[in-house]
């Protein structure tokens, strides 16, 4: 037999031995996974408490920010190498890079969360280019700054005061039932705010020429009611 054929055969044997060895290592790794854990594909690390959260990166995987009793960072194990997190003073800075999907598709993204951030103290979130879902915030004020192609969705939140400043091409919307007693909007550039599933007592707004606000029937009624109340107030 020619030497080159013997070498190819040797390579095939080495490869098969490698596959067998990795098979036994993977068997051990598989045994470590708790199949009853809903976060079985994730890895959690506790983080120090933070008040400011800065997120940048890409929108391929949604990032969940959930109000909770503790502070932790849970990342999809397959995307662990895509995450960079830095804790300084009261700020947690996160860069979660990866693929980008078209902006119009981002909010419809059904991909499981890439990161789940649990926090009990955050009151300021700055999001650049990523897609975040803000979930279950209760009785806490929040400043949200969106820039670039950032997308934010609120789910079942209650805020005494919610301030949103959007720039670039960023977008935001609401799911479930949301309440903001004082709702301050500042929309600039080509931003879009989808006001649906949100109740507010007071709405203050600054909307630039190229920005757009899309209102649901219910929100439009709230806006008109608020406008009428103002008209009925005695003027000096």
């Amino acid at each position: 037999m020619k030497k080159s054929n013997i070498a190819l055969l040797g390579l095939a044997l080495i490869f098969t031995a490698g596959m067998l060895t990795t098979g036994f290592i993977l068997k051990k790794e598989a045994a470590k996974i708790n199949l009853n854990d809903p976060l079985r594909n994730y890895e959690t690390t506790p983080t120090a408490a933070f008040k400011v959260l800065k997120i940048s990166g890409s929108n391929g995987y949604p990032i969940h920010i959930q109000y909770d009793t503790g502070n932790s960072l849970t990342v999809l194990r397959r995307r662990k190498s895509f995450l960079k997190a830095k804790n300084t003073a009261d700020t947690l800075e996160i860069i979660f890079s990866g693929a980008n999907i078209p902006l119009d598709e981002a909010s419809k993204n059904t991909t499981p969360a890439g990161i789940i951030i649990k926090t009990n103290a955050v009151n300021k979130i700055a999001n650049q280019n990523t897609f975040v879902r803000i979930i279950d915030f209760r009785k806490t004020d929040l400043d949200l700054a969106l820039s670039g192609q950032a997308v934010a969705t609120f789910s079942n939140c209650q805020f005494p005061a919610l301030n949103i400043r959007a720039t670039g091409q960023s977008r935001f919307g609401f799911d479930g039932q949301n309440i903001a007693d004082n709702f301050n909007l500042n929309l600039q550039n080509s931003t879009i705010g989808f006001l649906k599933n949100i109740q507010f007592a007071v709405l203050q707004h600054q909307v630039g020429d190229s920005a757009a606000v899309v209102l649901s029937n219910q929100v439009m009624a709230q806006v008109f009611n608020q406008g009428q109340k103002k008209l009925m107030q005695p003027t000096k």
């Binding site: 070498a7 098979g23 290592i25 068997k27 890079s97």
Partner: protein
């Protein structure tokens, strides 16, 4: 190995083929520009890392064709004998082919790609915020390293097959990959005892379905690094060495 011989071999190749390489570079630029045009025009259908995709298609497509031309003389017996009779050792001829099709091609490709990507970024930055491809983001350079493995396989194919070596090598590669996929799934299922493995990568990991969700099982980080180094650095060396062995057998 004699460095003078190696330099002379490289000079000969460049002198004889310079016109073809220049035209090829222009065609590559045109093809990459067309690919960018397609992914931009139908951007809603091409979500995700389109620049990475264009980079890889261009690299493996053009790199494969270019590598296959290194020993094209073997397709005709007269030219093959002429190539073998060039006064240089098999190792020098193989080294020249690797330097040209592996390393020099990669440098030239990076230049042409970034020229096209730069134009794409320039035209789309304002509206879509596009930035140039970063090879070092999220370990993408590992895939670039995989080009050397591909280069080794195509070079080996070009000395193994005489006629239509590129097509035959791709066909064999495809068959091996399909076989490896099924064989590895089967092997992982037998070893782990998990019945519903739906995907696996040899020497890396597998996924199985549990209550409608895919569960991922990967190698521990340190072993995964060793596996990556083996696949992207050691395997190309092995393929280049087997190419050298085969070339020497042709000389005999």
């Amino acid at each position: 190995m004699n460095l003078v011989n190696l330099t002379l071999l490289l000079k000969r190749q460049l002198k004889e083929q310079s016109q073809l390489y220049l035209l090829g570079s222009l065609v590559l630029f045109g093809l990459l520009a067309t690919l960018f045009l397609i992914v931009h025009h139908w951007r809603d259908s091409f979500g995700g890392a389109v620049q990475n995709g264009v980079f890889l298609i261009g690299l493996f497509g053009s790199g494969g064709i270019f590598t296959a031309t290194m020993f094209q003389e073997f397709s005709e017996s007269a030219k093959g004998i002429w190539l073998l009779s060039i006064p240089a050792t098999a190792a020098e001829k193989i080294a020249a082919a690797i330097l040209l099709s592996g390393f020099a091609f990669l440098v030239a490709y990076l230049g042409i790609y970034y020229l096209t990507d730069g134009l794409y970024t320039l035209l789309t930055y304002q509206k879509y915020g596009t930035t140039p491809l970063n090879l070092f983001r999220n370990g993408f350079y590992w895939l670039v390293c995989a080009y050397f493995l591909f280069n080794g396989i195509i070079l080996l194919g070009s000395v193994y097959f005489t006629k239509l070596s590129f097509v035959k090598t791709l066909l064999v590669l495809l068959l091996v990959l399909v076989f490896l996929n099924y064989a590895n799934n089967f092997l992982m299922g037998i070893i782990s005892g998990i019945p519903n493995i739906n995907s696996s990568t040899p020497l890396s990991g597998f996924q199985f379905e549990h209550q409608g969700e895919n569960i991922y099982v990967n190698l521990p980080e340190n072993i995964d690094s060793i596996s990556n180094i083996f696949a992207r650095a050691v395997l190309p060396l092995i393929f280049w060495s087997i190419t050298w062995l085969r070339f020497r057998e042709k000389e005999v």
